[in-house]
Structures are given as C-alpha cells and as structure tokens.
Amino acid sequence: MLDFDAVVKRYGPITAVDGLTLQVRRGEVLGLLGPNGAGKSTTVNIAVGLVRPDCGRVSVAGRDPANPGVRGSIGIAPQALSLYMELTGRENVAFFGRIQGLRGKHLADRVGWALDFVGLTDRQSDRAGTYSGGMKRRLNLAVALVHDPPLLLLDEPTVGVDPQSRNAIFDNIKALHADGRTIVYTTHYMEEAQRLCNRVAIIDHGRLLALDTVESLIKTHGGDTVVTAETDGGPVRVQTGDPLRELRRLQDTCGLRQFHVQRPDLEQVFLNLTGRQLRD
C-alpha cells in the first residue's frame, strides 16, 4: 500500500530520515514509534509528497505521491493542527472536502459522517478556535477522513489531548481499522503503539531499528521478564523467561510475601535497541 525504498532526507547536517525501507501492508495499523526528532513526521510528510526525499523512492499503491491525483487516496492528520480557527468545525471539514473534489449531497453526507464519527456533531457550528485541545485533535482527524481515503497517516494524533478524547480517538482508530483502512500511526507513547498497532516500526535518528508485531518485537528484543519479590530471606530480583516457574521456586525455597512481575514492553525493546529511554 505504502512503500519506502531506501529513503533519505537531510536538513543541513541533520539526517532526518536515514535510508528507510519499509512496506505498509494493506489493511494494517502500522505504528512508527520513536522519540521526538526520530524522523517520524518527516517520514509521513514524504509519504504524502510534501517533502521530497533526497534519495530513494516512495510509492502509494505503486504510484508517486508527488502526483496530485495519488494524494486523493491519502488522508493525513498532521502533527501540527492544520485547521482554520476562524471557521466552524463543519466549515473546516466541508472546505477540505471540497478541496478533495467532493460536491453537493455527497459532500454534505461525508461531512456529516466525519463530524459524527469523531463526536463533534454537537459543536459543529462553533468556531474551531473555541474547541478544547482534544476537540481540535478530533476535528483534525475528521478533516483527514472526509474524502473516505483508504490510506490514513495519523501523526501523533493524541498529543495534548485529555484522557476522554484520547479514548475516543483510540475507538475511532479501531473502528477505521475494522473498516479495512490502512493506517500509519506515529507516536512516542509505547502504550499507544502496543495497544493499537498490528506492527510497530521502531525508529531512531531516522533509522529503522526493528519492524515486527508487538509480540515478536518483545520476544526478540525485549529480553526476560523481571520478577521482583519480597521473601522471608529479603528482597529478590530475577530475570527469567518463565516467570511462573520462578515464582513457584521462590515460594518453595524462601517464603514469598509479595511479588511483582514485569513483562518486557516496547519501552524495554527500545532501551535494549538504543541504550536509551524512549522518553527523555
């Protein structure tokens, strides 16, 4: 659906994207996980033809996104809210729908659907500038959806969002996925990637470090589970591939009072891959 082939983008001395090769499969939710400055937004902008790569090729369903016709099949919710704050929610969605070539009743239907989908029907006649951070994010998403694109690029769609809107956005993404859309989801929150994505690409300094399902990533790069316990003989911390067996052993040998099992997560995967924390 979306292919990157050895894509490089430099900004002066900074290499924002460094030889990225990646295939996004039709119908999957692919997470781009990496810290700030990893090159996620640049990657997304290359995918939609906004940024021209210095080297390499990118294609959407086999065609170059620099071609305006190809871009009609992409919906993008940019990291920076790209809305007209003086226009109402409905006017924003309708305007971008018109720019995407929708007209008349079809346009009105799609606008109504998109606003309803993100839960903004009640506030559609208020100016976007009066919305809360979460509502603006949802409107940003509605604008990306209005023309019913099969490929969605969502760049940090939960930044600056209250927990309620965040859950609403998660539900939206699950619904869109269930609907068969291909979604690229960038984030620096590993919980989000873990919760939403079929596959996760871990990116740092513009380089793709690993790409697989969450399960496999953890299995390959996460290391052992950490069991910490309070026993009769004092505190114990053990790394193990089989936490259940380890707990039984502790119970039998030194009297288990309290325990905590920490399964490896993407945070751990990132730490193991880069030697750094995901969040600094």
């Binding site: 305006p68 226009l87 070539g101």
Partner: protein
C-alpha cells in the same frame, strides 16, 4: 477552477470574520473618503478658482473689469496672449475657465448702449456649471458696476448718448422702427439727465442707479455668436470647453478622496491577504492544502482570486457610495472599470510579494504596513499629488498607489481618453504581474 473557487470562498469568509482585516479593507477607506472629503470641502470656498483671461481690448475699462474680478477673491487671474492658448489651458484642466474681453469693450462700456463690440466670452467645462455661473454673474456685475460708475459723471454720459444717437442714425443695418425707438429713448434720457440736476446725487448711489439703466440691462446670450454689428446690450457668451482635463480642479473634493480611499482599500486587502498566507503557512493549513489533490498553483491562484475579488468588491462599494451619497459621477464608467481592475491586479501581485517577506504573522503585518504606508504617502494616498512639492511628485512615480490614483482620477474627473489611461494601467498591470511572479516563485521555492 472549482477548487480555486472553494479556496477563494474560504478566504472571503475568513476575511469577513477577521475584524481587523475587515476594518482596513472596508471601514477605514470609507471613513477616510468621507472624513477627508468633508474636511477639504470646508477649504474649498476660500480657495481661489484659477482662471485665465485674454484682454483683447486693453483699455482702462477692461483692466478695471478684470481687476474687479480679481478683487472678489474668488478667482486667481492669469493673463494669456491669445484666445486659443487660453482655451487650451481650460481644455487641459490647467484653468477652470477663461474670459475674453473683446476689442471695443471699453468703448462699448463708455457708451453703454450702442456698441459694435462682441460679447464678453466665458469658456468653461460644462461639468463646472456652478463655477461658470458664478463667474458669469460676477462679470455682469462688474460690467454693470462700471456702468453705474459712469453714471456718476452725467456729463460724460451725455456725451456718450450723443455719440450713440449719431451712430444709430448712421447705422445702415438698424431698421427704421428700431432707430426711432432707440433715438426717442436716448433723446429722452439725454433730456432727463440735462434737466434734472439732482440726478447726479441720485447716481452717486449705485444701488439706486441700477434701475435707471433697467431698460438696457446687460443680457446673457448663451452660445449665440455676436448678433452681427449694431446695437446690442453688452452680453456674456458662455462657451462650453470640453476636453481632456488633467488639471487642477475636480468637481468635488470627494472625487479626490474616493480614489485615495480605494487605494487604501487596496493596501488593506493586500496586507490582509499577505498576512493570511503567512498564517496558513505557520498554521499548517497551507501544507495540508498541498496534501490535497490540488496543485500549489491552485492554492496560490485561490488566494490571488480571493484577494482580487475582495479588492474589486471594496473598490466597487466605495465607488457606489461616492456616486450615490456624494454625487461623484465618473466621466467614463468603462475606463474607470479598467482603472480599478488594473489597480486591483497590481495589488494582488504586491500581496504575493508581501506574503513571502514576513515569517510570522506579526512580522508580515508589521513589514507589510510599513511598506504600504510609505507607498501610500509617496503615491498621494494621503496628500493629493497635485498639492505635493515638485520633488515629491517626481518620487511618487515609484509608488503603485500613484498610478492607481492617477488611473482612477483619469476616469472619474481628469477626462482621460483610452490612450491617456494606457500608461498608468500598463504600469499597474506590469507591476502586478512582476510582483506576483516573484512572490509566487519565492513561495514555491521555500515549499520544495
């Protein structure tokens, strides 16, 4: 095209919701036109109307007549050697009117009633009816004032009456009944003057003297050539001088302030839209638009279209107000449309260029207005160019505001023909195109 219209509609909607932008595009120009129009109007009265005269007579009487015109303070008189030159000055609008004092005027006035003299000639543009009427009234008053003065010296009048009687008798073209009538009247008057000594006292008061000449009150002949030789009352002929006026006196101050105010509206528009492009760039919507299946050319075209439509709407609104509320009647609506369209196109280009100069909205607004104020000041958007000192007039050529105002004034009251409109409009369009291309190119370059 559909996309461009959608873009333009969105921009118009945004402008209408942007109070500051709206004020600068519509409200301020209107207030400017009306406010300054009223202010200048107050000064219009004491300002002397420039007229040119040709003294073909060159007698004491003609000099007196002209001096009395000058003494009213309403006119600023300049001398011209011949009629053609004077007429030309009026045609080109350098002078509001011309007055020709024909040869024989002094003689005619001395003799009051019988004269071979051609009528006084007054030439003015038909659009200056009020000024021409005032001038005519003053001429008649001066002529008549001179007559009443003559009455203060009955002896000279009696001499003149005798001469008149001789001429009447000798005139071959005068019919017998007329000769009889005039002869009887003049003889009677002569007798009256001779037999009533107190008449001198009476005539010392011109107000009371006027009715005494009632029978031969100077008349006004409108556009009729002097009716051959022979007897006639001293009259004033008004000639209509129409032509291209590139000159000093528009019919009303509002005809000056409304073109100025349109230039302000154009400036306001260019600034508002330049700022909106910067806002779209910094707010990310410009990028989002570029992710849609429209080309960058469409996006810029939509901006340009919206800006153009707004400038045309603002200019149109101001012109309608000028016409309906202040009676500013353009001499040519067609040429005015050309002038407005050229000016609008020019400022759309300037808008494009301004939009790449500022990085942030605040910078764009600051730089934009600074540049625009200078252009407006230089170009006559504040002080009309006609009132500027010479060196400033020269500098003003660099300002598009100057050309916009010149083109609009040309169509409204300077009486430009198409060939005279051409330079200003060509300069505006060229400047608009050049700034548009440079601006669009720079916007494109930074997006790549």
């Amino acid at each position: 095209m559909n996309e461009m219209l959608a873009l333009a509609c969105k921009d118009l909607r945004l402008l209408l919701r942007d109070k500051v932008g709206f004020i600068f595009v519509f409200f301020f120009p209107l207030v400017y036109a009306i406010g300054f129009g009223l202010m200048f109007k107050g000064q219009e009265g004491p300002q002397a109307v420039p007229i040119v005269y040709v003294d073909e007579d060159g007698t004491e009487a003609s000099r007196e007549l002209l001096a009395s015109l000058g003494a009213t303070g309403d006119f600023r008189l300049t001398r011209s050697e011949d009629r053609a030159a004077a007429e030309d000055l009026v045609r080109r609008g350098r002078k509001a009117a011309y007055v020709v004092v024909p040869q024989g005027f002094g003689e005619a006035r001395r003799r009051m009633f019988f004269t071979q003299c051609a009528p006084l000639e007054l030439g003015a543009d038909p659009s200056r009816k009020a000024q021409a009427g005032m001038l005519q009234g003053l001429l008649l008053q001066s002529v008549f004032g001179g007559m009443s003065k003559a009455f203060k010296n009955p002896a000279s009048i009696r001499g003149a009456i005798q001469e008149d009687l001789e001429s009447i008798k000798a005139d071959p073209e005068l019919s017998a009944p007329k000769k009889l009538m005039l002869g009887t009247f003049l003889a009677g008057l002569d007798a009256f003057l001779a037999t009533v000594p107190s008449v001198q006292q009476l005539l010392q008061n011109p107000a009371e003297a006027e009715p005494a000449a009632g029978g031969a009150e100077p008349g006004v002949a409108r556009d009729e050539p002097a009716a051959g030789s022979g007897w006639q009352p001293l009259s004033v002929v008004i000639r209509e001088v129409t032509g291209r006026k590139t000159g000093v006196l528009p019919p009303a101050t509002f005809a000056i302030t409304f073109p100025q105010s349109i230039s302000w509206a154009l400036i306001g528009c260019a600034a508002a839209f330049a700022i909106s492009i910067v806002a779209e760039r910094s707010g990310g919507t410009l990028l989002r638009l570029q992710t849609a299946p429209v080309s960058r050319g469409h996006v810029l075209g939509g901006k340009a279209l919206a800006c153009f439509l707004t400038t045309v709407a603002a200019s149109g609104l101001l012109l309608v107000v000028a016409r309906v509320a202040f009676g500013v009647e353009p001499q040519s609506w067609l040429l005015l449309a050309l002038a407005v369209v050229s000016s609008c196109a020019c400022f759309v280009g300037i808008m494009m260029l301004l939009s790449v100069i500022g990085r942030t909205e605040a910078a764009a607004a600051g730089i934009g207005w600074a540049v625009m104020l200078v252009l407006a000041m230089l170009g006559g958007g504040m002080m009309p160019r006609d009132f500027m000192p010479g060196f400033m007039k020269t500098i003003s050529h660099v300002s598009p505001v100057k050309w916009a105002i010149q083109a609009m004034e040309g169509a409204i009251w300077r009486g430009f023909g198409p060939s005279e409109m051409l330079p200003a409009c060509a300069i505006l369009l060229t400047l608009g195109l050049a700034t548009f291309l440079v601006g669009a190119r720079m916007i494109r370059a930074e997006g790549a």
